[in-house]
Amino acid sequence: MSDGVDAVLICIVLTSFVLVGASRLGTCIRVVALQGVLLGVLTLAAAESVLSLRAPLLALTIVGLKGAAFPWLLSRAVRDADVRREIEPFVGYKVSLLLATLALAASLWLGARLPRPNPAMSALVVPVALFTIQVGLFIIISRKKALTQVLGYLVMENGIYAFGVGAVEGTPMLLELAVLLDLLVAVFVMGITLFHIRREFNHIDTDQLVALRDWVR
């Protein structure tokens, strides 16, 4: 049981690394979709009892939302926005990969220091969740395009959700669904705003969104 969870977690770590080093928008969206699917598999692998309907249902919802719906929404935003498909980063790819490695080491260290939340679960859950959250934040900060900021937000949510699945037991199903619904609406609204940004600015580079500032230029 723990081996399965471990293997899925390591795959999630690898997808985060690929995301940090990828240079094309399409690749990034597909990798985030893969991460969503892996999260669904994690939900199944971490389920306690085999017979309850809750875990498969939740896993299916997650795979449907994060593995299919969100990437589809974002791909449509990319297509409608007709933007250049190269990601332009503030921080170069090699430096990003090295920073991600440092983040992984830091997360493993931190995970060892925090008291274990759920003794039945693999010890890798907390470090991997923290690492994924850090990767999400890093992608938001270090990439120029607004779409990659949304992807970074999704990766952050993936990490937080991985923590929830691995460390917390007994959350009512209704609340988990409410959280997922919120996430869906969030991505939907972000997608619409991306469309408006493209229509307004003719690009989706956020480093050009500098019209509002305090002291007069």
């Binding site: 925090l114 008291p115 939340p117 759920n118 959250i133 934040l137 938001i140 607004a146 900021q149 949304v150 937000y153 952050m156 949510e157 937080i160 923590f163 929830g164 460390a167 917390v168 037991e169 007994g170 959350t171 009512p172 609340l175 409410a178 959280v179 919120d182 609406v185 969030a186 609204v189 972000m190 705003t193 408006h196 940004i197 307004e200 600015f201 956020t206 969104l209 019209a211 509002l212 305090d214 002291w215 007069v216």
Partner: protein, 489 residues
């Protein structure tokens, strides 16, 4: 009753799309606002029964903030009728840069306003931490389209920053929820559900390390939404680009709802005996927010941005008060009420000034007292109220916080507090009084223009209430605030 509070705005939002005429829609907006305010007022008379298995219930802080939200929404709705009537159909020219833009469809605007109200109500009535989170995220999603009402690049930029920064912050708060769940799983017996009464009861069994980490995440996450420095980057842009009635709601009602999230976390911490940990952090963030606001208010060129930074300052004062504990908590809660009412009034008046002078720059606006007499008076009165001049209510709440600081022997904090208040007073006075007095730049033939009632009465009423609170706090209000303060330890 709680169900009514939630369902009325949602139904209104659905109806907004069904109605054809703008006039009908505005009337419906006002009707819904009245209905909501009536039910909210009813909760003072009779205690509403918990709904949904105890997840939704109204306790003292909730009732306080619910009433403030409802009152502000009513004022904003009434003002909105005049403001929306002023908006010309079709394209119009931008004041600052001269390009043409159009507005969002009014149906969308009204529907999002009502959903915003529903989300804020959800935040105030929820006893479950997860539902609180859902509510706050929903407020972000409902208010982003509101900021993008005037469809041009500046408001789009503001809306995008708001959406992304607040979503990231709120995601951190979700992690805080999970940390809290881990802290509550205890080990002894069944895990404690993340509902406030249960958590308070079982506070002794919570794991301290996870609880502290959870509080930190709540503070950072909801603090982003609340506008605490250094997480306030979205606030000036969003508040200055949104239409004035939206800014009023954002500043007055939304920041309070985010505060409620932090308040709930602090309640649990206090019950678990970790009150001091949270309080230190709150004092630190409070002073930092005041300092940042002071720096940016001095010499601020845009008066709506100045008001936005003033919101940051007052959130700092609130946080400082709650962080000081004891009498300071009472002062903080009272200040939340005063600030909400005053700031909303100021934004509504600023909307009038903007519509008249067609410029957001402080330097361009002169002689408001002559051109718009009522608005000018309200502008000056609002300024006096917001900076804590007696006899307005803010003076009382700020004094209470000062007294709490001195009582605890924290003279450094008190000195910094007073100094920053002074700097902000000077900064705002230069701007506001400069705008109010003098002669208008271009010779306007009309002197003392008659202003539509609906554009001044709401703001006037709000300032009157603040004045009243400064002179006499009704005992029922006093007891509710005291109860809210007591819950915080």
């Amino acid at each position: 009753m709680i169900a009514a509070l939630l369902l009325i705005p949602v139904l209104g939002a659905v109806v907004a799309y069904a109605l054809r005429s703008n006039a009908h829609r505005r009337a419906m907006l006002v009707a819904v606002a009245f209905a909501h305010a009536a039910v909210a007022g009813g909760t003072w008379a009779s205690e509403p029964s918990p709904w949904w298995g105890g997840w939704l219930a109204l306790d003292a802080p909730g009732r306080l903030f619910l009433s403030v939200t409802s009152a502000l929404f009513l004022a904003a709705a009434l003002y909105g009728v005049a403001a929306l009537r002023r908006e010309l159909p079709g394209e119009r020219e931008d004041f600052e840069e001269g390009f043409l833009f159009d507005n969002a469809p009014e149906a969308t605007f009204t529907a999002c306003l009502l959903l915003f109200l529903a989300a804020m109500t959800l935040v105030t009535v929820s006893q479950s931490f997860v539902l609180l989170w859902v509510g706050i995220e929903a407020t972000t999603l409902a208010s982003a389209p509101l900021i993008y009402f005037h469809r041009h690049h500046r408001s789009l930029e503001a809306a995008w920053k708001y959406l992304l920064i607040c979503s990231v912050g709120i995601a951190l708060a979700l992690l805080g929820n999970f940390f809290l769940a881990v802290a509550a799983s205890g080990g002894r017996g069944a895990p404690v559900p993340l509902v406030l009464p249960d958590l308070l009861r079982a506070a002794g069994t919570l794991d301290v390390a996870w609880l502290k980490a959870a509080f930190l995440l709540f503070l950072v996450g909801y603090g982003t939404k609340m506008g605490l420095a250094p997480l306030h980057a979205w606030l000036p842009d969003a508040h200055s680009e949104a239409p004035s009635l939206v800014s009023a709601l954002l500043s007055g009602a939304l920041l309070n709802c985010a505060l409620l999230g932090i308040v709930r976390a602090q309640q649990v911490c206090a019950a678990a005996g970790q009150a001091a940990f949270g309080q230190e952090l709150l004092v630190g963030f409070g002073l930092l927010s005041m300092a940042v606001a002071a720096v940016f208010i001095a010499g601020q060129a845009d008066y709506k941005r100045m008001l936005a930074y003033s919101s940051v300052e007052h959130m700092g004062i609130l946080t400082l008060g709650i962080g000081l504990g004891g009498g300071g908590t009472f002062g903080g809660m009272l200040h939340a009420v005063n600030h909400s009412l005053t700031k909303a009034a100021l934004f509504l008046v600023a909307g009038n000034i903007l519509a008249e002078y067609r410029s957001k720059s402080t330097a361009d606006v002169r002689g408001v007292l002559r051109v718009l007499p009522v608005s000018g008076m309200l502008w000056v009165a609002g300024f006096l109220a917001i900076t804590g001049t007696p006899p307005f209510g803010s003076f009382l709440s700020e004094l209470t916080i000062l007294k709490a600081a001195l009582d605890q022997g924290r003279t450094g904090v008190a000195v910094a507090y007073l100094a920053l208040l002074g700097v902000i007073f000077v900064g705002m006075a230069t701007a506001v009084l400069g705008m109010a007095q003098g002669a208008p730049r271009d010779a306007r033939g009309v002197r003392g223009r008659r202003e539509p009632l609906l554009s001044v009465v709401p703001a006037g009423a709000l300032i009157a209430v603040v004045l009243l609170l400064g002179v006499y706090v009704p005992p029922v209000v006093h007891s509710v605030i005291a109860e809210a303060a007591r819950a915080l330890g």
